[in-house]
């Protein structure tokens, strides 16, 4: 995933000059009627990460959050003083530059592994979620089109659904996911869950320590959203449910950092 607006060391310095801590505002689509599975997972992951860091933030739902995003259709993004940062990885880096990090104390090797697992989650889960939402016909017609188009007036909703679907398909095509069958996609998710579950074996959190870090936040975001979002067929949810270690991790994180209202009862 790209690191938008943060590529240069100059920006790092600029960021360091801003007073801290500042109020963080998190912009995301409307949770109840608009947001889709992949976006929701990302938003929840960011929320979980910010909570883990002990940072205060405000959630600001906007129907056009996707278009407001500084780096091309990526939600959620946070506004912090002058800066707009989108995408989970960039947000983690940004907060890290401010001196709040959950993984600084880990060994270099462990950090490298963690980055690799984050890539794994980001790629496999997001692509699978995009596939389910935009390629799988039943989900597309029964859920995705209705929700994605809900904030736009007729005939615009149809046009934008079509446009978005085209974009997603183009992306999945480049990443080699569009030609997969639903079974292959499920297999990928299963492999990914297996890998995560193996990694987690025997410890509370992925780092093997007593406190969660960004990988836990990311996994929580995806697993929790997949479990709690009702979709026709519930294919992904069924796969994820069969990994009790991951489900327990989610419950643990949920009870430790989220009160029930904060997530919004589904």
């Amino acid at each position: 995933m790209p690191y938008p607006l943060l590529a240069d060391s100059i920006t790092f310095e600029l960021e360091a000059q801003e007073p801290w801590p500042q109020l963080i505002t998190l912009y995301q689509p409307y949770e109840v009627e608009q947001i889709l599975l992949p976006d929701n997972a990302n938003c929840l992951a960011v929320q979980a990460f910010l909570k883990m860091c002990g940072l205060d933030f405000q959630i600001e739902p906007r129907s056009n959050a996707e278009y407001m995003s500084p780096s091309g259709r990526v939600v959620p993004f946070i506004k912090c003083g002058q800066f707009l940062v989108s995408d989970f990885d960039s947000i983690v880096t940004f907060i890290g530059n401010k001196g709040t990090s959950l993984s600084d104390h880990l060994s270099a090797n462990c950090k490298a592994d963690m980055r690799a697992y984050m890539s794994l989650v980001n790629n496999i889960f997001i692509n699978a979620e995009l596939y389910i939402c935009w390629v799988d016909e039943t989900t597309l017609n029964e859920v995705t089109k209705i929700r994605h188009g809900s904030v736009y007036p007729w005939p615009l909703n149809h046009y934008l659904n079509w446009q978005k679907r085209k974009e997603v398909i183009k992306k999945l095509n480049v990443l080699g996911w569009y030609n997969k069958t639903i079974e292959e996609v499920c297999k990928e998710v299963q492999n990914c869950c297996t890998a995560l579950s193996e990694r987690l074996e025997g410890s509370d959190y992925f780092s093997g320590e007593k406190t969660p870090n960004e990988l836990d936040a990311l996994v929580f975001g995806h697993i929790f959203t997949i479990i709690t979002t009702p979709l026709p067929g519930n294919k992904l949810a069924n796969i994820v449910q069969s990994y009790p270690l991951l489900v327990h991790l989610c419950k643990r994180i949920e009870t430790s950092i989220f009160s029930l209202q904060a997530i919004g009862v589904k």
Partner: protein, 309 residues
């Protein structure tokens, strides 16, 4: 027993193959000591590369090919714990996410590399009619990749920065992860080493005219020795061949550092250029004559400059 027959892109610069996926399969096979019949080819038109033929079945996906190897009890991972297998999967995805775009960028987007090294190489490597089509096709595919990965960014230099910084971070991670050990899981090479080698070796070995990322890789000395170790151990033939060729070329360059038939080439080029210009002028003249037939005067001329075509 049936032979494994593997068709791959041909190599150069001391590499057995220039393609990442082909390398991956080949290196994995070498690690396991699989008896292989390797066809190094320069035309991809009949199938996707790499292609494995075994028992009259054809496999083209890296995953499938490695699965076939494993079914035949060629497996470097059987001694690893499940946690380590999970790690291989995670690193595989990370490399695909971070290094693959960078390699594509270095290979097919960076103009200097494309014009001076990559396109000439592919043009030479492929047989005649295909070498006009395929390099362009690969280039277009690479452009599509970056269009989709960075949909709102139209400034190519910003994309370049982002891609390279991602790749550099990833290389640094690999470097720390490898540390001082021989292979990523200590003593024995595994699939993970094959994957990492397949990404790093082309980047390291190709004599790139624009070596921005290559220099970063060269700075990670343990990765450089890692690549060299595998190359020496498993592909010593290719290495030596390339080295002798290189030496021979150096010697040659000292003796004749001018082209043969320089004057003749110049004359031919001059003649062709004149011919082209004359043709162009002539065709333009024709165009002007026919332009008079156009009813341009019927269109309300929006201003003083009205051109016709």
């Amino acid at each position: 027993m049936d032979m494994f027959e593997l068709t791959i892109w041909k190599g150069d610069w001391g590499l057995p193959s220039v393609d990442t996926e082909c390398l991956q399969v080949l290196v994995y096979a070498k690690f396991n000591g699989i008896p292989l019949k390797v066809n190094a080819v320069g035309n991809p038109f009949n199938s996707n590369l790499p292609t494995l033929k075994y028992n009259n079945y054809t496999f083209t996906k890296v995953k499938d090919i490695i699965e076939v190897f494993r079914e035949n009890n060629y497996n470097t991972e059987q001694d690893l714990s499940r946690k380590e297998c999970a790690k291989i999967m995670a690193y595989d995805v990370m490399l695909k996410e971070k290094l693959f775009p960078a390699l594509q960028f270095v290979w097919w987007i960076d103009e200097k590399n494309v014009n001076e090294l990559i396109r000439p190489w592919y043009c030479k490597a492929m047989p005649f009619p295909f070498n006009f089509y395929y390099p362009g096709k690969f280039e277009r595919q690479a452009h599509v990749i970056f269009e989709t990965l960075y949909p709102v960014e139209d400034d190519i230099s910003i994309i370049e920065n982002k891609v390279y910084s991602e790749a550099q971070k990833c290389l640094t991670l690999l470097s720390t992860s490898l540390g001082e050990s021989l292979y990523f899981f200590n003593e024995k090479p595994t699939l993970l080493d094959a994957v990492i080698y397949s990404y790093l070796a082309p980047l390291l070995k190709a004599p790139l005219p624009n070596p921005a990322l290559q220099n970063h890789l060269k700075a990670c000395t343990n990765l450089v020795t890692f690549v060299a170790r595998i190359s020496e151990k498993y592909f010593s033939n290719e290495c030596h061949e390339y080295k002798t060729k290189q030496n021979a070329r150096n010697v040659k360059q000292y003796t004749h550092n001018e082209f043969p038939n320089k004057r003749r080439t110049q004359l031919v080029a001059g003649f062709i250029a004149t011919l082209m210009m004359a043709t162009y002028a002539f065709s333009n003249g024709i165009l002007e004559v026919s332009a008079k037939d156009n009813e341009i005067s019927d269109i309300p001329a929006e201003d003083a400059f009205t051109n016709n075509e």
